[in-house]
Amino acid sequence: MRPQTVQMIGSLLVALAIVAAVIVAVTAQLGPTSAAELEARQERERQRIEAQEERRERRQERLEELRENR
């Protein structure tokens, strides 16, 4: 392979490295505001609320069972 071709490929690899570095840096800066992150956070919140409601319902059922047994 000619030295010129090697140098050109090297220059393009540097360009690719710059692209990768910028994508990583900007994505890291934007991360918490991305829609995917927000959706995941909302989903976790929804699951937490559902689990709380289930626990409350089970507690209520147990209380009613105890009252009936008395």
Binding site: Q4, S11, I18, V19, A36
Partner: protein, 140 residues
Amino acid sequence: MESFVESLTRGNPTEVKVVLASVATALAVYQLVLICVAYAKLRPRFLAGEAAGRAHRASGDAIVVLLVVVAVMCLGYFGIEDDGALHAATGAALLVVLAVKVVVLRWWHAAGRMLPVLGGLVFGLLALTWASSAGAFLAG
């Protein structure tokens, strides 16, 4: 168009636009270095002018594609807003100067002397366009 951009970016059109514009701007800085080597303003031992010139052209083609995608996203999804007048003006000027530069490179070789000026203009306008939108967004 809006729904196409929305689905293509999975609901993150602004973030995708910021990333693409930032990549184009970073590559533009690298373009300056490459063209300085090509014009022998910089003479590193590991890179000849001809190779730098070819890499400059290949990288420039990638930047053109990126900028066209960002411009289409910008106009198709966000449109022209009143508070983004500077961004709209610099963005439009950037595309016009870029088109002139491509014409000079491919067909109008007699105007080749204008290339350094056109290149400098493209870089300046790109930096302004990025700073007035993506840069401001990143800065919060």
